[in-house]
């Protein structure tokens, strides 16, 4: 069995276990599985852009917002969940390519700052474009239907999210073995080398933004459907920071890192919450949660800059093989 096949098998098994867990652990378990899965989709999207193609973006939070609003509007006018998610993906891909346009001229730091502006401008538009977004109070999203049946239970949301996560992960794994995927890596390493190899850098970047945007739209749509509300204050720069934290803590440009990082960033606050409730210090919990988050990001980056995914091979005493084909940055 090749490494690729084995990895796919592992992914399918993990997905099945996650779905089983969400049924076994009751509503709260289902909520956690769903939250991790959705964050994992968003992190995979950002990892494609930053980890594989080297384009630093601080606009992920706003892009998730675009996805949530698009899926919400489509759902509200009566389309099914799957159609609404695809529509959200396409809309978000378009916005993402638009944000990426400056990347054709700008590099590295300058582009990162440009995405900061995109984030701010999109946040403003969320508040102002009232017919589409419901303005400051947000857009109330009706219960979505899947193949004609309304999605009601937390477990079915969890299963849907895990299914989308699995599809996205498989898609990206496949993509990274095509010419386009390899072109991403070359562009990340050096645009000059990429040009020398005959890679159309502008087109490659545009594809990276489009694909990453599409996936962000899926994640955003799922966020909208599960929260049943999309409001401007949910999609701020802080959310972008969360997602960058996920892919760095997990391991930049690694194949499992984004999902491990997503699980870490989603579950850490929950864990702090539990511990805090047990210690009876509920009033300072939100501050403690944020402090733990900030401190862990700092410590991680100093002591394990390659992320949690780099710890995985150490657990298994065998050579990494093709796992090293896409090395961390």
């Amino acid at each position: 069995m090749t490494v690729q096949r084995r990895r796919v098998l592992v992914a399918v098994v993990i997905a099945a276990i996650l779905v089983a867990l969400s049924f076994a652990l009751g509503r709260f378990g289902a909520y956690l599985v769903r939250a991790v899965a959705i964050a994992g989709i968003g992190a995979l999207s950002l990892n494609l852009l930053i980890g594989y193609c080297g384009q630093i973006s601080f606009a992920q939070g706003a892009l998730l917002g675009v996805g949530a609003y698009a899926a919400g509007n489509l759902g509200n006018i009566g389309s099914g969940a799957l159609l609404a998610l695809v529509g959200a993906g396409i809309a978000t891909a378009a916005v993402s390519v638009l944000i990426g346009l400056p990347a054709l001229r700008l590099r590295g730091l300058y582009f990162a700052i440009a995405t900061l502006a995109a984030q701010a401008i999109l946040e403003y538009l969320f508040k102002m474009a009232e017919p589409l977004t419901g303005g400051v109070s947000g857009l109330v999203i009706r219960m979505p239907t899947l193949l004609g049946f309304p999605i009601t239970s937390d477990q079915s949301y969890a299963a849907l999210s895990v299914a989308v996560l699995l599809a996205v992960w498989l898609g990206i794994t496949r993509l990274m073995r095509t010419n386009l995927g390899r072109a991403f890596l070359v562009v990340r390493e050096s645009e000059i080398v990429a040009k020398g190899m005959g890679i159309d850098v502008a087109r490659t970047k545009a594809w990276a933004f489009a694909i990453s945007g599409f996936i962000a739209g899926l994640a955003g749509g799922l966020i909208g459907f599960t929260n049943r509300l999309a409001s401007p204050e949910a999609f701020t720069l802080d959310l972008s920071a969360d997602y960058i934290a996920m892919i760095i803590v997990g391991g930049l440009g690694s194949w499992a890192g984004p999902i491990i990082g997503a699980a870490f960033v989603v579950l850490l606050p929950e864990a702090v919450q539990r511990i805090g409730e047990a210690l009876n210090i509920a009033d300072i919990l939100s501050a403690l949660r944020e402090m733990a988050f900030g401190l862990l990001i700092i410590l991680f980056l100093i002591f394990e800059p390659r992320g949690l995914a780099a710890l995985l091979p150490r657990l298994r005493p065998r050579p990494r093989g093709a796992a090293a084909a896409v090395p961390g940055d």
Binding site: P102, L109, L116, A117, S190, A241, M291
Partner: protein, 306 residues
């Protein structure tokens, strides 16, 4: 006309505070190549430290503000030594993220100690207002604006004309050459962090005297980015000019453009409000600048390392 002058003066006052923050960001970027998202955190922490010194020690205002600048300088040098130095070879995004982590941590720490509510800042400057030909300007604004402007200029002069400034510029321009002629580069980098944290702390304190003390002070750190892009990423003078420019732009947007636009929209469409337009205008300018003149007003072309 008086309205225009009033807005211009208000804009210059906040603009010079922006300049103080942006100068700090540029200084750190020049010296250590780090884009510091935590500059807003320094401003916020500096303001809280000033508040504690003013409230609890009974020091005169000047001493309290200087004291908070000293504390911030130590904090700045400490972050450089403990957090940024181990990450010298890390990729750009990791360095940006670690400063974001610092911002998140500092905000949470202040939330833990001082709570989420806005605190009234003890008066630093005398009450009252100047009446200059029908324009009223409170002493607060005058003092904050003047102090920020004078300090920015003073810092630029320090950077250009003193031996220490020369060493700073040398270390920033070419750290190897600086090492070769006997400049202790890593000390210079720490010094740059210390100075920029102190400047940010002062800016935060000034801002708190104008708008009150709250966690929201840290948001000003993000506004430094439009400022430094417009000014040119590696130009301290650019940061000063662009800071003033952006302050004015915001003030005019708030006072003139927004009402005019809203009147027009209400007359012709069903849109009632354009919201906080002055908050996005800097970012609009940023995008324009990046598309038309990426090196900024004062930057040099081709300074980016490939």
């Amino acid at each position: 006309m008086t309205l225009v002058l009033q807005l211009a003066i208000a804009g210059l006052a906040t603009g010079s505070v922006y300049a103080l923050i942006a100068i700090g960001v540029v200084l750190i970027y020049k010296c250590s190549g780090v884009v510091n998202f935590a500059q807003g955190a320094y401003a916020m922490v500096g303001a809280y430290v000033s508040y504690v010194l003013l409230q609890n020690t009974g020091l005169p205002a000047v001493a309290a503000v200087i004291g908070s600048m000293v504390v911030m300088a130590c904090l700045g040098a400490l972050t450089e030594r403990l957090v940024l130095r181990p990450m010298l070879k890390a990729p750009l995004v990791a360095v940006m993220m670690v400063t974001l982590g610092l911002l998140i941590f500092a905000r949470a720490a202040c939330l833990l100690v001082w709570g989420p509510d806005q605190i009234a800042f003890p008066p630093v400057f005398p009450e009252g207002a100047i009446n200059a030909g029908g324009i009223f300007i409170t002493y607060n604004y005058v003092a904050a604006g003047l102090l920020a402007a004078v300090l920015s200029l003073g810092f630029l002069a320090f950077y250009r004309f003193t031996p220490m400034g020369l060493m700073q510029r040398c270390a920033a321009d070419n750290s190897r050459a600086a090492l070769a002629i006997g400049i202790h580069v890593s000390n210079q980098v720490s010094a740059a962090w210390a100075m920029s944290a102190a400047l940010a702390g002062l800016a935060g304190t000034l801002l708190a005297t104008l708008n009150g003390l709250s966690l929201g002070l840290s948001d000003i750190g993000m506004l430094a980015f439009p400022v430094i892009v417009v000014g040119g990423l590696s130009s301290l003078e650019g940061a000063l000019v662009a800071g003033l420019l952006l302050g004015m732009l915001q003030s005019f947007t708030d006072g003139l453009l927004t009402p005019a636009l809203e009147d027009f929209l209400r007359a012709n469409t069903s849109i009632y409000s354009v919201g906080a337009l002055q908050q996005v205008v800097p970012y609009g300018l940023l995008v324009l600048m990046l598309l038309l003149r990426p090196q900024g007003l004062f930057g040099r072309r081709g300074t980016e390392r490939v």
